[in-house]
Chain length 174, copies 2
């Protein structure tokens, strides 16, 4: 099979041919771009695969993990939108789903009564603690053969890339 490797080979050939027709194309950068897209999609697929048995999707998982990681186990829809890159509309639905499963609670805030306080429940915490560890082995496999320097390098380069993307993002919005 080797789905990804296959796609990558084909992409390399494709970009090679295109940059012969259009030589001013930044071929190396375009290739990195496509690699990031492909790997991102594939990692997402892998994640959803691990989440399916728990009947969670990516955004629900992320939301739950953010709450779990908070010292006080709580947040607001707005904040969760920001960190999960979800629209408010969708966050409402995510919260509905998690509330229905008893993993979080939703209640009005005292100080600012526009705000809604979302809080992870003890059941939610137990749920996370149970589902998380079985995911570790496959995460480890993802980076099999990576030396510590490899990992540090990758981390550094990705963060650098993130900085540049933020720049692009800003003038995209304006």
């Amino acid at each position: 099979m080797a789905r990804l490797t296959n796609c990558i080979t084909m992409m390399d050939e494709g970009i090679g041919r295109i940059s012969q027709i259009i030589p001013q194309m930044p071929a190396l950068e375009a290739r990195l771009c496509r690699l990031m897209l492909m790997l991102g999609d594939d990692i997402e697929e892998e994640l959803e695969f691990k989440l399916k048995p728990h009947k969670l999707n990516h955004s629900e998982f992320l939301t739950l993990m953010i709450l779990y990681s908070r010292p006080d186990g709580s947040s607001t829809p707005g904040e969760l939108c920001e960190y999960t890159s979800q629209g408010a509309t969708n966050m409402t639905r995510i919260a509905n789903a998690l509330v229905k499963r008893g993993l979080i609670t939703r209640g009005g805030s005292e100080e600012d009564r526009r705000r809604v306080l979302i809080r992870i429940t003890p059941a939610g915490r137990r749920f996370v603690q149970k589902m998380l560890p079985p995911m570790f082995p496959r995460v480890a496999i993802m980076f099999a053969g990576f030396s510590d320097t490899d990992k540090r390098h990758l981390d550094r380069l990705l963060r650098k890339l993130a900085g540049n993307l933020d720049q692009l993002g800003e003038n995209r919005r304006s």
Copy 2:
């Protein structure tokens, strides 16, 4: 704004706290995983942004680019599904959309009359040649500040990651 940088900071803190509760978590790997997911999403957003003026979405663009990159400018739905990671259902719709715009043609194959031959039209080629160059500057910005070694390193590490993901993918399907 610095949306991404912001999310990353918050993720670092979150993962830090979680790995105090669950110390056997592969924190470094998990972080790399999340970085890849975030960056992938952001690059996708950037791409869609550049495609919107042309009324193309990501899959249509990819499909068109694969055809454009082919020496003979043609392929089949099945092959395009494979390389774009799209379902057949969706490929049918993509093809419909591109045919309607006159960028590709769809016709029966001579040798194997089950097969459908999808071919980019001269108009399709002109379209690609016109829309592609304006995208280059922003791609270049993405990798601003990357030395040649940085780019080569990143390329190498991403391909290595792809290899591992393929392994995971195979036993995911079986």
